[in-house]
């Protein structure tokens, strides 16, 4: 199960360039998650790796083999399609075993594998049904099963859980995480759901308009996003962004804006000197707020109680912010509370380039 490398990958559809220059390395056995807004080229990238879409330029290397011009079947991979792509005329068992039957595996082995995978996917009762006789979620699980019965070197998943209900999705996510630990294959996984991305990925690749905005471990992306887009994309609830200015008063650099002033740690001072007295975008995660006296007084406009946590919608100056707090007793809307933010938990971005400072 060798590493995968994408080098200067490019894809044009006629005059439209969907992906201009994509470079990405995936280590052996790594679970890579591609995330990004709709239409950013995730499926296109995946389909190029699969060999279903021709490559306009650049190379795809699996191990040392340049596969960019090979047929899909020569690339040793299994794939779960965004639109399931089941064989309408075959029942579930036949759908799942198709690749194995083509590979002339013996009957008893095929049957055993299909049974095992069907059991983990809760599909045992449906093995004799045709795809048209299944619900959307069941079809999606069959699509998943069809890939999982195979012993391919690389697994590609295009939003494989998007049509499942929350409970089933959680269950399948756990199943996938277990499987990826157990079999250690290359996995490339496309999703919209950042919880999936964070929990499954060894590495997350955030894309926008066909470009990679940042690639790294979930922790790296969460703790030190390279730009405002990644900061806003990773983490839930979404990071708050406030307009602010960097001011120095009494030797302390602080981010000051309408209704707040947050002193920044001494360690960042040198690095931020160049931006003194300039505008910045300040990013604060909802979870970085903690209740405490002497902080910013904030009116609670809306309180969403979720159990152990509450998400509060409030305002600083005239800018709306979300706050996530641990709650024992629900906080009521209409109250005003004071919150503090630690200077080492805020993110600063250049207003023009949106790069992290």
């Amino acid at each position: 199960m060798p590493e995968i490398r994408l080098q200067n990958l490019r894809k044009d559809y006629g005059a439209v360039t969907v992906i201009e220059n994509l470079n990405l390395e995936m280590a052996e056995g790594e679970f890579t998650v591609l995330v990004g807004p709709s239409g950013c080229g995730k499926s296109t990238t995946l389909r190029m790796i699969a060999g279903l879409e021709s490559v306009t330029g650049g190379e795809i290397l699996i191990g040392d083999r340049d596969v960019s011009r090979l047929e899909p079947k020569e690339r040793d991979l299994a794939m779960v399609f965004q639109d399931y792509a089941l064989y309408p005329h075959m029942n579930v068992a036949k759908n799942m075993s198709f690749a194995l039957r083509l590979a002339r595996m013996n009957k008893a082995d095929i049957e055993k594998r299909v049974k095992d995978v069907a059991a983990t996917l809760d599909l045992t009762a449906y093995l004799d049904r045709k795809p048209a006789e299944l619900s959307g979620g069941q079809r999606q699980r069959v699509a998943m099963g069809r890939a999982l019965v195979r012993d391919a070197g690389t697994f590609l998943f295009d939003e494989p859980l998007s049509n499942l209900d929350a409970k089933l999705r959680g269950q399948m996510r756990a199943e996938l995480a277990l499987m990826s630990q157990r079999i250690k294959k290359n996995m490339i996984y496309v999703t919209h759901d950042q919880v999936e991305a964070m929990t499954l990925g060894d590495k997350i690749v955030v894309m926008k308009f066909g470009e990679i905005m940042q690639a790294g471990t979930p922790e790296e992306l969460y703790r030190s996003p390279a730009n405002k887009f990644v900061a806003g994309f990773i983490g839930s609830p979404t990071m708050n962004f406030l307009d602010a200015e960097l001011r120095e008063e009494g030797g302390v650099l602080s981010a000051t804006g309408d209704g707040f002033s947050i002193p920044l740690p001494e360690a960042r001072k040198a690095q931020l000197q160049a931006h003194r007295d300039r505008q910045v975008h300040l990013g604060i995660r909802p979870s970085s707020f903690s209740e405490g006296s002497g902080g910013i007084a904030m009116p609670i406009i809306l309180s969403e109680y979720i159990g152990a946590q509450s998400v509060l919608i409030s305002e600083i100056g005239r800018q709306r912010v979300a706050i996530e707090v641990n709650t024992v007793v629900p906080i009521k809307s209409g109250e005003t509370r004071e919150f503090t933010v630690q200077g080492d938990e805020v993110h600063l971005f250049d207003p023009k380039t949106e790069a992290a400072l």
Partner: protein, 304 residues
């Protein structure tokens, strides 16, 4: 009349004129023909003067070796022609189902034969099959081979009419198969590529099974049609030499105009009609079964 009853009858009132036209235009001739098949009727007589002979025409037909030969020729012709056309038509469709430049021009060229009037097709082929100046024999002579008695030998004549029919009607199967192919779910085919299917395996395991409903209807349509060919063979061989290419429709034509046995011709037409009805009925049953299946699937889907 109550309002409800009037409302219930409304659709029938609208249907009535069409039903009337249909009855006159369709049922009248059929009944006429059925009645005629029980008569010993000569074209110089008016129908009222013809003698009623009951089933004699039918009995005579079954005892007539020429009729049996003609029936056999028809079945053989239809079977061979439709089989060849299906294989070639579907094969071509599978071959030409790709988006390369010039393909649309090629596709249009392929369906040209279908648009030529059958009489013209017959004449064209008769000239091409001409023993001395026809293109085939001329080419053979130029290449130093013996000429072939295209239309003058029984076996060759049968093969020749088959070639002409295949030439004319393969395009029909070709365009229907191509349409079916292009409406197949592309994602299922992609999935099969990932699953490791070769081009052949994609065709055998995915494309053909998914095209099957269209192929069956196409086959039945062609089969029905092939029982009714007349003009091309009439022009090319007029049924000969001997009875080698005398298909039923030709024999009916001859019985009526040459042997002047209208009753017998009618009886033969009725037999042909029965064969066609059976085929049509098969198609109808098949469509019904498909609809029922689709409805069942929909019901399951809604419930899920």
């Amino acid at each position: 009349m109550s309002v409800a009853r009037a409302a219930r009858l409304t659709p029938y009132m609208f249907l009535a004129p069409a039903a009337l036209v249909l009855a006159v235009a369709l049922f009248y001739p059929i009944c006429y023909m059925i009645y005629a098949s029980f008569l010993d009727w000569n074209p110089s007589q008016r129908i009222g003067e013809a003698e009623f002979v009951g089933l004699r025409n039918y009995i005579k037909l079954f005892g007539d070796p020429n009729f049996r030969e003609s029936l056999w020729v028809t079945l053989k012709f239809a079977g061979i022609v439709v089989t060849l056309e299906m294989f070639i038509g579907v094969g071509l469709a599978l071959l030409l189902d790709r988006n390369i430049r010039g393909m649309s021009v090629l596709r249009t060229l392929f369906i040209l034969p279908m648009m030529i009037a059958p009489i013209v097709v017959g004449l064209m082929w008769r000239y091409m099959y001409h023993p001395t100046v026809g293109i085939f024999n001329k080419t053979l002579t130029n290449l130093g081979f013996d000429t072939i008695p295209w239309l003058s030998d029984g076996n060759w004549a049968f093969a020749s009419v088959i070639i002409a029919d295949v030439w004319q009607w393969t395009p029909f199967i070709f365009i229907l198969s191509l349409a079916a192919l292009q409406s197949l779910p592309s994602s299922a085919i992609e999935a099969s590529k990932i699953d490791g299917a070769t081009g052949w395996q994609q065709i055998i395991y995915i494309k053909l099974p998914l095209m099957l409903p269209v192929l069956i209807v196409t086959l039945l349509l062609r089969l029905i049609d092939s029982f009714k060919v007349l003009e091309v063979i009439l022009v090319m061989t007029n049924g000969g030499p001997g009875l080698s290419t005398e298909i039923l429709s030709l024999r009916i034509n001859r019985t009526a105009s040459e042997f002047r046995e209208l009753g017998e011709a009618a009886a033969m037409s009725n037999l042909l009609l029965i064969v066609l009805l059976i085929l049509t009925f098969a198609m109808f049953i098949y469509n019904k079964a498909q609809d029922a299946r689709a409805a069942r699937l929909r019901a399951v889907e809604e419930e899920a």
